[in-house]
């Protein structure tokens, strides 16, 4: 058992009648990058959103199984879902900064958690922006609207916002699919820095990206976890026929 990793056991999820996740079990290493790949609708994003219980917000969703973070099943009835989301940050596909200043965007998660001390907040905002490799670009315009930043900067701002409350896990749902190639490289470089401090799980459509950044890769197909192993073995020596077909591009 991993002390700080994530353990998923027999996870099942239904949207209404649609069985979207079918008995997924996996152990996610702490302080490493784990990539989820697979064709659209394979359940990879759904599994990701189970890790901070974002699926709870969807109507008619039913979830069974266990997800253990820090030796606690996050689906146990007594779990405080707000505290959980403080521990498990998330970055979305589309950069989604709030229509607030750059500073306030990063400070948001701190204020949510009741932090009042101004110097403390300013310190953490600076640290988080540095952690997201954005500080040098924005340090002179912290008071300006975050919506004035470029797409790549906005996404790094969202990463800074996600790491400000000091989570243990950072979930990324196709974080570079809306970005240009240069911004994509910046975010990928950032991820290899971030994994020193955080457990990272990333959903990606881009197999090259998974190979560049992920320590381990999981391949999903129609709700099943087909294969999950070291990234190099998965891409060079896939055990399953479906994986083989998918990574060679021979897939409907």
């Amino acid at each position: 058992m991993f002390a700080k990793g994530i353990s998923i056991k027999e996870l099942q999820l239904w949207y209404g009648d649609f069985h979207a996740v079918k008995g997924v079990s996996m152990e996610i290493d702490p302080k490493a990058v784990t990539a989820y790949i697979g064709p659209s609708g394979c359940g990879k994003s759904t599994v990701l959103r189970c890790l901070n219980r974002m699926n709870d917000l969807i109507e008619n969703v039913r979830i069974e199984g266990e997800v253990t973070i820090d030796q606690q099943n996050i689906y146990a009835p007594q779990v405080d879902v707000y505290a959980l989301r403080k521990k498990v940050g998330m970055v979305f596909q589309k950069p989604s900064p709030f229509p607030k200043s750059i500073f306030e965007n990063v400070a948001y998660g701190l204020r949510v958690n009741g932090m009042r001390n101004k110097t403390e907040i300013a310190d953490i905002v600076e640290k988080s922006l540095k952690g997201a490799a954005l500080w040098n670009e924005v340090k002179d315009k912290l008071k300006q609207s975050a919506l004035g930043l470029s797409g790549g900067q906005q996404q790094r701002l969202c990463i800074a916002r996600a790491i400000a409350p000091n989570p243990e896990v950072v979930l990324m749902d196709e974080p570079t699919s809306a970005l240009d190639p240069i911004s994509t490289v910046q975010v990928e470089e950032l991820m290899s820095d971030l994994k020193k401090h955080y457990t990272i799980v990333i959903v990606t459509h881009n197999m090259q990206q998974a190979q560049r950044i992920a320590d381990k890769t999981a391949f999903f197909y129609v709700g099943y976890l087909i294969e999950y192993t070291d990234t190099q073995s998965l891409f060079n020596n896939p055990k399953e026929e479906k994986t083989q077909k998918y990574i060679s591009g021979d897939f409907s």
């Binding site: 917000l57 989301r85 998330m90 589309k94």
Partner: protein, 334 residues
């Protein structure tokens, strides 16, 4: 030119003519009211209470009454409208109850204003025994703008991207924290814009206040919210159609109409200023209502796909204003 092109040219020509007609009607209406009423408007007219059944003095009490009614009806309706809108868009799930509330809201918006007047008379004036008073009148008006407020709040909230909500919730915020700190601040300009339009609407309503609050002639300020007040739309109605001396009363009616129009148009401008990033554009829009020539100039520029520049606007406003003054002057000479 082929037959297809010809048909297209004819159809677009008809569209252009129809929209020009709309501009013409509104321009004529504004011109007519302003040319008849502007001569009555003076500093004294705006700041003195009426004398001799409204024929002398000014319309200060009507202006004050309208402002009081607007103030109190917003006070009653705004919190209820915004909270219902939030409930409808953020909390309620798509179920029978929500459909019911939406149906009722839409029905409320479709009720003729005179029916609101009767409803106010029955409920607030008689049953609640408030008498004809500011309280009864503003409650009636509040019921009238309520559906506007609920709908604009709901629509404004709907425009806020779901990404904002998801991002906030993913940071451990509760639903209410998310609404208060992310959703509402982003939606607020639109909500305020809806409120101002609603205010413009009730500031000009006559029917709901006839039975519930409006007096045709008073000489002093209302003493409490249980007093009657004069109000601009009712003053116009009274001076234009019910006054014993209609001939002498008519210029006062036109003057009051100018003031009411000015208030409503200014509110319209304000509501645009509240939402737009393009403050200059909003001012331009407002000016083109007041000075139709400016609107036409802007339209002509739009047609030629040239970017509209501030200098042209000032020039057009100058020409429009000049023409306008000239028209008024001719009217005065005649």
């Amino acid at each position: 030119m082929t037959a297809k092109h010809l048909t297209q040219a004819i159809v677009f020509g008809i569209f252009a003519a129809v929209s020009a007609l709309v501009v013409a009607v509104i321009s004529f209406l504004l011109y007519y009211i302003f040319s008849n009423g502007l001569s009555s408007v003076s500093w004294e007219f705006l700041t003195s209470p009426p004398e001799q059944d409204g024929l002398k003095g000014g319309i200060m009490l009507s202006i004050a009454g309208t402002l009081l009614l607007v103030f109190f009806s917003v006070l009653f309706a705004f919190p209820i409208g915004v909270l219902s809108g939030i409930y409808m868009n953020e909390y309620s799930r798509e179920n029978a109850w929500k459909k019911m509330v939406r149906l009722m809201t839409n029905n409320l918006a479709g009720i003729p204003s005179i029916v609101f007047g009767l409803f106010g008379l029955a409920l607030f004036v008689k049953a609640a025994n408030f008498g004809a008073s500011i309280l009864a009148g503003s409650l009636t008006l509040a019921a009238m703008i309520l559906p506007i407020l609920i709908r604009t709040t709901e629509e404004s909230l709907k425009q806020i991207p779901g990404d904002y909500r998801a991002a906030s919730l993913a940071l451990g915020a509760t639903k209410w924290y998310t609404i208060r700190h992310v959703v509402l601040p982003s939606a607020f300009p639109n909500i305020i814009s809806g409120l101002i339009l609603g205010v413009g609407r009730i500031a000009g309503e006559t029917a709901p206040i006839i039975f519930t609050v409006a007096a045709s002639y008073l000489t002093q300020f209302p003493q409490s919210i249980f007093s009657q007040v004069m109000a601009l739309p009712f003053t116009i109605y009274y001076m234009a159609s019910s006054h014993p001396n209609l001939l002498e009363a008519r210029p006062i009616a036109y003057g009051a109409a100018v003031v009411l129009l000015a208030i409503v148009l200014s509110l319209n401008l304000l509501s645009r200023l509240a939402v737009t990033q393009d403050k200059l554009g909003a001012v331009r829009y407002f000016l083109s209502i007041v000075f139709p020539p400016l609107g036409i100039a802007l339209w002509a520029q739009y047609r030629t796909r040239k970017p509209v520049v501030a200098n042209d606007c000032i020039f057009a406003a100058g020409v429009g204003g000049g023409l306008y003054t000239l028209l008024l002057f001719i009217q005065y000479l005649l």
